[in-house]
């Protein structure tokens, strides 16, 4: 059985400690969403796991191999940083081949997998932000690994591609460990089975997502017609029917009911960020 283990890990840059005494043991292949506000230490955690940062104290192990010292263990990890990390002066094919030459892998397979064939001869620097992100994601699929660390992989990507990437990761997580950082609780709920919450460099929560108790969500619904009778618990504020729900799942039901009752829906928005509320909580 594969095992990723962090024992009392503190790490950071220079003398500045960013993550503090993190204990984490992962044995089940799945998607683990690493959630936290900006500056919480998500990237530092990933850089420590993939052996770039040496822990100030504690140990990071993958199947009992020390991740900082073992090149073989590190080769089993794929790390996607928030930067594209591809040679901008090359074509898409050559940029991917650059890494394939260094670490092995199949460029054609990646082009097919991420529908990049039409971009293959385009210069990387000439691509849109979304296209660049897709190619960047592609490099971690050049060869198979056992642990995938993805730092906000769907940022700057349109919803269609985001979904494709998430679907790919869901498929991958059947027999691989996938750690996926985000600051979006909705995204976490959509793809994650486990949640790792980090705040101020400390591990605040590590459990199945369903065990996370959040406060109520406040949503605003804008319609062209009067739906006050359909939403008796709502208050009409600034053009929106504002109401509280316990989870995002309820939103889908409400929208369905409204549409079936003939409401002309214009906009649905989240008014409070329950995650922000969660992090403000001490």
């Amino acid at each position: 059985m594969q095992k990723l283990e962090l024992q009392e890990v503190s790490a950071g840059y220079g003398v500045e400690e960013v993550i503090h005494r993190i204990n984490l043991t992962i044995t089940e292949p799945s998607i683990y969403v690493v959630l936290g506000p900006n500056g919480a230490g998500k990237t530092t955690l990933f850089r420590t796991i993939c052996g770039i940062l040496k822990p100030f104290s504690g140990q990071t192990k993958f199947d009992d191999s020390d991740l900082f010292n073992s090149k073989d263990a590190r080769r089993r990890i794929a790390y996607l940083s928030h930067l594209n990390a591809l040679p901008e002066e090359m074509t898409v094919f050559n940029a991917l081949k650059y890494y394939a030459d260094i670490e092995g892998g199949d460029v054609e397979h990646v082009l097919d997998l991420l529908s990049l064939s039409e971009l293959r001869d385009r210069k990387f620097s000439s691509l849109s932000q979304g296209q660049k992100k897709r190619v960047s994601v592609g490099k971690i699929f050049l060869r198979e690994r056992d642990l995938y660390l993805l730092d906000e992989p769907t940022s700057n990507v349109d919803p269609k591609i985001s979904k494709e990437i998430r679907d790919m990761l869901i498929k991958l997580s059947k027999d691989k460990f996938v750690l996926y950082s985000s600051h979006n609780l909705y995204e976490a709920r959509e793809i994650g089975t486990y949640l790792i919450l980090i705040k101020n460099g400390e591990l605040k929560f590590f459990d199945k997502l369903e065990n996370l108790k959040t406060r109520q969500y406040r949503i605003g619904i804008k319609t062209l017609n009067d739906v006050s009778k359909l939403l008796p618990e709502s208050k009409f504020e600034n053009g929106y029917y504002v109401m509280k729900v316990d989870s995002p799942r309820e939103v889908a039901k409400i929208v369905n009911n409204l549409v079936q009752a003939g409401a002309e829906l214009v906009e649905l928005r989240e008014l409070d960020n329950p995650l922000q509320e969660f992090f403000e909580e001490e």
Binding site: C50, R74, E88
Partner: protein
């Protein structure tokens, strides 16, 4: 293709201006190396000067030819800074390479480019020298010294520039010129001492080259201790 070969290819594509300048400077060095052949034998009496110009002046071209190799290989260091800022080095670290592997890759690329230019310079200088009637002994000395000084200087400049770029806090690579300054310091004695001790010019320059190579090698082998992996992060 290995990492250093890929790095070398990328460097060539990055900036052709440096390569043109490198070739131009090596042509200039060749002219300097053979300039005495243009001076008529009865023109003045240069041998009576305190410095033996007849024997030592062509050695000056060694500096120019070595500098041409340095210019030719500079894009490698520019690429290093570019890759650091772009997150390429971070990704390479995550794939299992360490800082020594990465430094070795760029140093090999740099030395390979320098070697290509030095081979060109030497052949060109020798052919031109033979055509102009420059003594074969002198041409051989210039060839040996150019290789020795050129390679050692490129090695030291490359490793110093990369080290300074890694250690600076701002990500712009503004400390790179420090590497050039450190790298060309050994060239000054290599230039001046042969003028003072013309009969030992080759020995003096070879000693300087060996010392520079040893310092560069020691620096490279200490990279794991001197530069932490985090210093290669964007």
């Amino acid at each position: 293709m290995s990492f250093w070969q890929a790095t070398m290819r990328r460097s060539v594509r990055l900036s052709r201006t440096y390569f043109i300048l490198g070739v131009a400077m090596s042509i200039y060095g060749t002219i300097l190396s053979n300039i005495l052949s243009f001076i008529p034998a009865n023109y003045g009496n240069p041998a009576s000067t305190p410095i033996d110009l007849m024997n030592s002046f062509p050695v000056l071209s060694v500096a120019i030819l070595s500098l041409s190799a340095l210019l030719f290989s500079l894009p490698v260091v520019m690429l290093f800074v570019y890759d650091k800022n772009n997150g390429v080095l971070e990704y390479l670290l995550s794939t299992g390479l360490d800082q020594l592997d990465i430094f070795k890759g760029y140093v090999k690329a740099s030395l390979s480019l320098a070697t290509y230019l030095l081979i060109f310079s030497t052949i060109f200088n020798t052919v031109v020298g033979i055509y102009l009637g420059t003594s074969l002994d002198l041409l051989a000395s210039v060839a040996v010294l150019t290789f020795a000084i050129g390679i050692s200087e490129v090695f030291l400049v490359t490793i110093s520039m990369m080290a300074f770029s890694s250690l600076q806090k701002t990500p712009m690579g503004a400390n790179q010129p420090l590497g050039v300054i450190i790298g060309i310091i050994p060239m000054f004695p290599a230039l001046i001492l042969p003028l003072v001790f013309p009969s030992n010019a080759i020995l003096v320059d070879i000693l300087i080259a060996v010392a520079t190579l040893l310092v560069s090698l020691a620096l490279l082998l200490s990279i794991k201790r001197l530069i932490l992996r985090e210093k290669l992060l964007p």
